[in-house]
């Protein structure tokens, strides 16, 4: 009982640790719940619809897509814009309703399966492992509903007039419309190549936090900080000097990750090793500056350790590792975009599997650099304000 009371006294006397204990789970659960609160299906994906037919039937099909629980129609646009959004990672797939869709569907219903089929092009992001499965899955119920309800209604066909044979054809073989599936970025992508962009940002970011999180706290624990602060050295020099060491280590981390991933696990780096290195390095940089920020105000190893754990869970939830950012509510998506993880993920995907040019990921890299510099600024201000 004495031990219990003593431990209680110790914890309650350390306000920062107590705050971390009490607020940490709340923040994590709010993030976790907020990220999933509007999501019934984890395979919901974002698509753009390109309606090249602009007909009553194509309009009806677009409306059907918009009502679907399994796909989020984020854009209704032309093909060029949709492809640009697709390259930028804004959407996971494009559904193109080809010109002549309306007339070919009508012909099918009137003259049967011998007529020329209407065509629907489906472009799916194969670098995002959910999309190749999710898009066709999402399409199926939409199309069945469209065949059985919308088309007969628009064509003024009583549902009873559709022959049992046609229903069989419609439901089982979906032969009304020819669906052409194009797996973008190749159909031979390894599982490692898909997982790499998801896990590497988290690993490097958290590693950066772990490296720098204890740097200044270590001085506090050793008791050397007060002595150091009585020398002419500036506080900013302490922060920058320590950070520099870890940024040099980060060079090795980023380099060795690329070497192992490419040489042993055959990661394709279609966009070039240098952009990938820059992405990984900037990811570690953001983790380092974040950790340095913690280190400036944490008083003990315990505080840093708890902060690191909660941050790791937070970035895993909001970074799109546990489930995609695209299924989260808009406000949580905005929050997720504030974190550098989702930008790192975008850039790594663009550089490795997609092999896209810098115009696609330069914004993400710039954001990570800015984020790291802001965290560094916060660390400098925090260390200046903290009384040591």
């Amino acid at each position: 009982m004495r031990i219990f009371r003593n431990e209680l006294d110790v914890i309650s006397s350390d306000k920062k640790t107590l705050a971390i204990f009490l607020l940490g789970p709340i923040i994590v659960m709010v993030a976790f719940g907020g990220a999933t609160i509007q999501t019934e299906e984890l395979i919901t994906i974002n698509v753009a619809i390109v309606d090249e037919d602009h007909s009553p039937l194509s309009n009806s099909l677009v409306a059907k897509f918009e009502q679907s629980e399994y796909m989020m129609v984020k854009y209704k646009t032309d093909r060029a814009t949709a492809e640009q959004l697709f390259r930028e990672g804004e959407i996971d797939g494009i559904v193109v309703i080809q010109r002549g869709f309306d007339s070919k569907v009508r012909t099918f219903y009137l003259y049967g399966s011998e007529s020329e089929k209407a065509r629907l092009d489906l472009i799916v992001d194969n670098s995002y492992f959910i999309a190749p499965v999710a898009v066709p899955l999402a399409l199926q119920p939409v199309m069945i509903d469209f065949y059985l309800k919308d088309v007969p209604k628009i064509l003024n066909l009583p549902t009873g007039e559709i022959s049992p044979e046609m229903i069989k054809q419609l439901v089982t073989r979906l032969e009304v419309v020819y669906i052409n599936v194009d797996l973008a970025y190749g159909d031979d992508i390894s599982f490692f190549s898909i997982i790499f962009p998801l896990m590497t940002p988290i690993v490097l970011f958290v590693f950066g936090i772990f490296m720098c999180g204890l740097s200044i706290v270590g001085e506090r624990i050793r008791g050397t900080l007060p002595r150091l602060l009585k020398t002419p050295i500036r506080r900013s020099e302490i922060v920058l000097g320590k950070l520099l060491v870890y940024l040099i280590i980060a060079l090795w981390d980023s380099g060795i990750v690329i070497l192992l991933a490419t040489l042993i696990f055959r990661l394709p780096v279609k966009g070039g090793a240098l952009p990938l290195f820059a992405t990984l390095y900037l990811t570690t940089f953001t983790g380092c500056t974040w950790g340095m920020f913690y280190s400036t105000f944490a008083k003990s190893e315990r505080q840093v350790s708890d902060l690191q754990t909660y941050t790791m869970v937070l970035v895993m939830v909001l970074g799109g590792v546990i489930f995609p950012v695209s299924v989260m509510p808009d406000i949580v998506q905005s929050l997720a975009k504030v974190l550098p993880i989702s930008h790192s993920l975008n850039a790594i995907r663009a550089v490795t599997i997609k092999g896209l040019g810098p115009e696609i990921y330069a914004g993400d890299l710039g954001y990570m650099l800015l984020f790291g510099l802001i965290m560094l600024g916060l660390a400098l201000v925090s260390f200046r304000l903290i009384k040591d």
């Binding site: 050793r222 008791g223 050397t224 007060p226 002595r227 150091l228 602060l229 009585k230 020398t231 002419p232 050295i233 500036r234």
Partner: protein, 319 residues
């Protein structure tokens, strides 16, 4: 030279020290003496720039701490109470690291470290990790580290705290030799009265107020009896004797035999201007109140006596 003018430090609503006023000349060893909570650490924190101070209140080597702390830091060295060294680094690495913060050349620091290691009698330990050294050795490494950049003066915060008496004496011998060899000015806090004797001047503070600032000899000289007192050894010191001594004190003061009677210990000290007169009258006064005594001697006054005389309170050492 260090000039402290009318220094007051307030943290929150609490005034930690008030009206502190002293000047430290080059080459002096100045001790800041006071019981626990007197304000010694506060003064050290101001001198080492940990606590801010208003302009013109603290000038170190011509640099006003309020406006030019960085220049002031350049010319002083600091020896903290708890060594504050990198235990996983060697003696040499610590000297190079801390010395390097002052922009000193590495080659010079290397040479300086070797010389300092010899001076602190740890020449063979230069490449040993600090963690492997004893408490006394760590203190010496700490002092050597503070001297690496050739400071004009060194601030030592209770450097002998936690050391055994022999090590304390050894460290003071070393500090004195450093002071004499390098003309290093030293400001030392201590709560050991015997150590205060090593200082050229003493700043006595109590409850945040400056009580006196003078040399130990002159501080003792301020006592009546010009550095001498009469010490009475009683047979016992129970409540009865204590009550009788109280009567004796009143009587001795009213008859101007004694100016102050310290009856806090087993021995009773009587401070008076005229020692010969007092030695003849004290036995009569004790007899009048019905109190016997074991012995009576004329002894030298101590700094503790001076502290009691100046503050009206007893000095309590922390350890």
């Amino acid at each position: 030279m260090v000039v402290v003018r009318n220094l007051s430090v307030t943290r929150g609503k609490k005034t930690l020290v008030q009206g502190i006023d002293f000047v430290v000349e080059r080459g002096e060893i100045v001790g800041i003496l006071g019981p626990s909570g007197a304000g010694k650490t506060t003064i050290i924190k101001v001198l080492t720039t940990e606590y801010p101070c208003p302009p013109s209140q603290v000038i170190i080597g011509g640099h006003d701490l309020a406006t030019d702390a960085r220049s002031a830091k350049q010319i002083f060295g600091y020896v903290p109470q708890d060594t504050q060294l990198y235990e996983d680094l060697t003696f040499l690495q610590n000297v190079l690291y801390f010395g390097g913060q002052y922009g000193m050349d590495q080659a010079y620091l290397l040479e300086k470290a070797r010389r300092l290691a010899t001076v602190v009698e740890l020449g063979e330990k230069l490449n040993d990790k600090v963690a492997r050294l004893s408490g006394g050795q760590k203190k010496r490494v700490s002092v050597a580290t503070a001297l690496a950049h050739d400071p004009e003066f060194v601030i030592l915060d209770e450097p002998t705290s936690g050391l055994d008496p022999a090590t304390r004496r050894g460290l003071w011998k070393f500090l004195k030799s450093m002071n004499q060899s390098y003309n290093v000015t030293m400001i030392v806090t201590t709560h050991y009265l015997d150590e205060a004797e090593y200082c050229d001047k003493l700043l006595i503070i109590n409850k945040g107020h400056m009580v006196a600032y003078d040399s130990p000899r002159r501080l003792k000289g301020r006592l009546p009896g010009e550095g001498k007192a009469i010490e009475l050894e009683m047979f016992t010191l129970d409540d009865y004797v204590s009550a009788k001594l109280s009567q004796f004190e009143s009587k001795a003061k009213s008859e101007r035999v004694a100016e102050m009677v310290d009856r806090s210990g087993y021995r009773v000290k009587v401070f008076c201007k005229d020692i010969p007169k007092a030695t003849s009258e004290i036995p009569h006064l004790l007899a009048e109140v019905g109190l016997g005594f074991k012995s009576m001697n004329v002894v030298d006054s101590s700094l503790e006596d001076a502290f009691i005389y100046l503050t009206g309170e007893h000095f309590r050492e922390e350890d």
